[in-house]
């Protein structure tokens, strides 16, 4: 039987990272993936990642995916695509469907990195065509260039629901509402804020009552729910939509472990049934490792680190890495992983409502309940200060592990500090040159350049912009507030796109002086069309 030192199941972020790490130590590795393209979900992630340099922060997911593939290719890792692992059998044998036959392979070690599957909720009409998973929406628009629908309602305000809502808008869809049965937004506030400011309303403590339509979705009715998740009569709201997108969490796809007899447990904090693993990701069967979402739902950034740890552990298990090499590598990676597992959204805080930031500042209630920080709340956060002349206003209000703003500023104006979850601040002696790198680089799109008095009676606000059509200098329209509602007239006075901005344009709008701390998005006046 064809035998490899290491067989990796799944060519997503965790699997590829494991393969790369093992190959670096000379391990002969093959990666099997059922899809026609490698990268797992990374190629659907078109937003910039959070974290720090070591986590590939501010790089878009699909770019990271390509980097992983290039690195793997350089190291001679074989990635076999259209190769569905149909079973993991005794003696570390995998059976793979390839083409019109099944092939048997054995590995001296196995890393299973099969990722996660989307959870679902039921509601009347949930089986109608037009009700889709958020992952399906991403697949359609980001992999295949097909819009999932024209008018979309999103259920779920976790990071997936927020990010996909934003991506739907980028694909040109109209997102009519973001709905969640929970009383608070589940994902990062900055992800919510960048959707809210485009005018998408948030309905927390609401859920879908029914999807309407006979052969496909033509509408949806939502209603408020009480603290026991029961509908409150008389609170129904109807939307005309053709698509309902469901983003209510993920479950690990741990079936291969179970089939092979690895010990598994139900762990709600990890999202469902997961293999029992040691700190290197090794399961109850020696030589079989787990990495990424399959061992507990987290972000792609942590999946990559878990993959590296598992790859290193496998290399050591197979005698390709010394104990010292293993220890040193694992320690470094665990520190990196630890960095990502800090802050308000750390796994240990899952399900908890955090009332105050690490700095002791009360968290914005409006952000949690409506997706944006209210004008009355924004001033209490340390990144929001008033200066003479152009300066960054950093509307980063929750402790998340992220610091590209600090790294990217050529003038070192922004400080996060060594504690990666600290809220960024403007250095007292900041000398902003208005380059816009911080605006374009912030994965949360939470930084704005503000010149509170660019000319008498007017201010200029520079904001990140990732939609088409791109506004042009001289365009007139409305400035929208953080809540997505028009606050004033605005004129585009500058549009900048550079390679360093990586497809995030920065748009400068001129607004009345008193609007400098309120205008946060630009909406062009509707074109006067004849048809």
């Amino acid at each position: 039987m064809k035998r490899y030192d290491l067989i990796v199941v799944g060519a997503g972020p965790a699997g590829m990272s494991a393969a790369i790490e093992a190959a670096k130590h000379g391990v002969h590795v093959v990666v099997f993936d059922e899809n026609a393209r490698p990268g797992g979900q990374l190629f659907k992630q078109i937003h910039k990642f959070f974290g720090s340099k070591e986590h590939r922060a501010k790089i878009r997911g699909f770019v990271i995916g390509q980097e992983l593939l290039d690195e793997a290719a350089k190291l001679g890792v074989t990635v076999e695509l259209d190769s569905t692992v149909i079973g993991l059998y005794q003696d570390k044998e995998v059976v793979v469907k390839q083409g019109e036959q099944v092939n048997h392979y054995k590995g001296d070690a196995i890393v299973v990195a099969t990722g996660a599957a989307e959870n679902m909720v039921t509601f009347e009409g949930w089986t109608l065509p037009g009700v889709i998973g958020a992952g399906a929406a991403q697949t359609m628009m980001n992999l295949h260039g097909v819009r999932p629908g024209n008018r979309v309602l999103m259920l779920g305000t976790g990071n997936v629901g927020l990010v996909v809502s934003y991506q739907l808008k980028q694909a040109g869809c109209d997102v009519v509402a973001l709905v969640d049965a929970a009383p608070h937004v589940g994902g990062y506030g900055v992800h919510a804020a960048k959707v809210a400011r485009t005018g998408v309303p948030f309905y927390l403590s609401h859920t879908i009552k029914r999807a309407e339509g006979t052969d496909h979705v033509t509408g949806v009715t939502i209603a408020q729910v009480d603290s026991h998740f029961q509908f409150v009569p008389g609170t129904e709201k109807h939307f005309d939509v053709d698509t309902i997108c469901v983003a209510v969490g993920l479950s690990p796809m741990s079936q291969l472990f179970k089939m092979d007899g690895c010990k598994v447990v139900d762990d709600r904090r990890k999202g469902g049934q997961v293999p029992v693993v040691d700190d290197l990701g090794q399961t109850s069967i020696p030589g079989i490792f787990a990495a990424g979402d399959v061992s507990g739902i987290e972000e792609a950034s942590s999946a990559m680190i878990e993959g590296r740890i598992a790859g290193l552990a496998a290399a050591s298990y197979l005698g390709f890495a010394t104990d010292d090499e293993e220890r040193a590598g694992v320690d470094a990676n665990e520190r990196a992983l630890d960095g990502l597992r800090q802050g308000m959204f750390a796994p240990k805080n899952r399900g908890k409502k955090v009332e105050k930031t690490e700095e002791g500042i009360p968290v914005s209630q409006t952000l949690l309940e409506r997706g944006y920080v209210a004008d009355s709340e924004i001033e209490r956060f340390p990144g929001v200060t008033h200066r003479v002349g152009i300066h960054p206003v950093i509307e980063c209000t929750q402790n998340i592990p992220c610091n590209p703003c600090q790294d990217v500023c050529p003038k070192h104006c922004i400080k996060v500090g060594s504690h990666i979850t600290a809220l960024p601040q403007l250095e007292p002696d900041a000398n902003c040159i208005g380059c816009g790198l911080c605006v374009a680089s912030c994965p949360g799109q939470a930084i704005f350049l503000v010149d509170e008095k660019s000319e008498p009676g007017f201010a200029e606000v520079t904001l990140p912009y990732e939609f088409l059509p791109l506004p042009q200098k001289g365009d007139r329209g409305q400035a929208l507030g953080r809540d997505g509602k028009p606050v004033c007239e605005a004129e585009v006075v500058g549009v900048k796109r550079t390679k360093a901005f990586d497809h995030t344009a920065i748009v400068t709008v001129k607004v009345p002086e008193d609007m400098s701390m309120r205008a946060r998005f630009f909406k062009a006046a509707p074109a006067t069309e004849t048809d």
Partner: protein, 388 residues
């Protein structure tokens, strides 16, 4: 929450005593409990597993077959087919998907035909309508069978049912009649009291009854050993698979002279097939009912040689299960004379499902001390002898 069963320390807790205790909640145990309760006997059923019917009962191919049976077993199968299966859904209040579509046992070589003729001769001697038919006649009955089939034995009164539905239908019907089922309750020991079996000992509790019926598959062996009884059987892992829903194609139960596969299409539309790789005797499991990587492909190859039309049918699941294989190929059924009160029903050797209604009836009769509907002397526990 502590239940009534495990609460307290005395043996006379009402929930721990009954007229009869059935050990094993497979289809045999559930059927026996049902027929006992129907006659007014109070019954407790204990099973080591958390899941009712988790052994062969829910893992078999669903054949309700008389043809190909050992002559000792044939009367049981004929009785069940004639008198019980046709009414079972009504009796239990749930559709057990019984389909009397006949049984084709297929042959591809002259040697196969010889085997089939031998089976036919034995069956006909006992009055079963079973005949040999040609390849063309086979394809008139089932046009999907390949030209490689040169003949078959045909038993029109055979058929199939849904073992999952049947097992749970018996369970639910018994439960409705007040039978007390406790799962996750492994029996470690039987104990005699005043020369009669009475106590059924589990780690959590001890139960008591006037009679004890052991029908726990291969696990019966260890349980019976506690009262000095042995049934010479082995535990054999076999495998099966199921396809996606297909358009309805044919109603017959299929088997082959070569025994390379067996199975049928269910009411749902999926095909359930069993078979082997030929290496079962030396297969190893890793402590659970694991599938081997080679068996399902072997079963598929077997099927496609007979039914090429199924090439595109997709397998959605494979599974393994254990057979309690008796050394002489038929089960042990009936009273254990040297342990008064003890009744055995085990070692079904992979063909217990089709006869489960009558076996349940007979074991209930034995436990109640009634005259049995059919003679059980061929199935005695003490029939095994060393060579002279």
């Amino acid at each position: 929450m502590e239940s009534n069963v495990t609460k307290g320390t005395t043996a006379d807790v009402p929930s721990r005593t009954a007229d009869a205790i059935v050990v094993g909640a497979g289809i045999i145990g559930c059927a026996t409990a049902y027929y006992l309760a129907k006659k007014g006997t109070s019954v407790i059923v204990l099973d080591a597993c958390d899941v009712i019917g988790n052994g062969g009962s829910t893992r078999n191919g669903g054949g309700v077959r008389q043809s190909g049976r050992d002559p000792r077993e044939l009367p049981l199968a004929m009785y069940a087919v004639k008198n019980m299966w046709p009414h079972l859904s009504d009796e239990l209040g749930a559709d057990v998907e019984y389909c009397q579509g006949g049984n084709l046992r297929l042959g591809k070589t002259e040697r196969h035909i010889k085997i089939l003729e031998g089976l036919r001769d034995k069956a006909v001697a006992q009055g079963l309508d079973m005949r040999m038919i040609t390849g063309d006649e086979v394809r008139q009955i089932n046009p999907y069978l390949s030209d490689e089939v040169i003949g078959a034995s045909w038993c029109p009164t055979d058929g199939h049912a849904n073992p999952l539905k049947a097992t749970y239908a018996y369970y639910m019907a018994a439960r409705r009649l007040g039978v007390r089922f406790y799962t996750g309750m492994p029996v470690t020991e039987l104990r005699k009291v005043h020369g009669r079996v009475r106590k059924v000992v589990c780690p959590e509790a001890t139960f008591e009854a006037d009679s004890v019926i052991v029908c726990a598959g291969y696990a019966s062996r260890k349980i019976l050993a506690s009262v000095g009884i042995d049934v010479p059987m082995s535990n054999v892992l076999i495998e099966a698979l199921v396809t996606e829903m297909e358009p309805q194609m044919f109603p017959q139960m299929l088997g082959t002279a070569d025994a390379d596969f067996y199975g049928h299409q269910t009411k749902h539309g999926s095909f359930v097939f069993g078979g082997d790789s030929g290496l079962e005797d030396v297969n190893k499991d890793n402590g659970h009912d694991a599938n081997s990587s080679i068996t399902a492909p072997a079963i598929c190859r077997g099927i496609l040689r007979y039914i090429p039309k199924l090439a595109n049918a997709k397998i959605v699941r494979t599974w393994g299960g254990y057979e309690d294989v008796c050394i002489d190929g038929v089960p042990v059924l009936g009273p254990v004379d040297e342990v008064p009160g003890l009744v055995v029903g085990c070692a079904f050797t992979g063909h217990g499902f089709g006869i489960s209604p009558i076996v349940g009836t007979l074991l209930a009769e034995v436990a109640r001390g009634e005259k049995t509907t059919l003679d059980l002397s061929a199935f005695r526990y003490d029939r095994f002898h060393a060579r002279a």
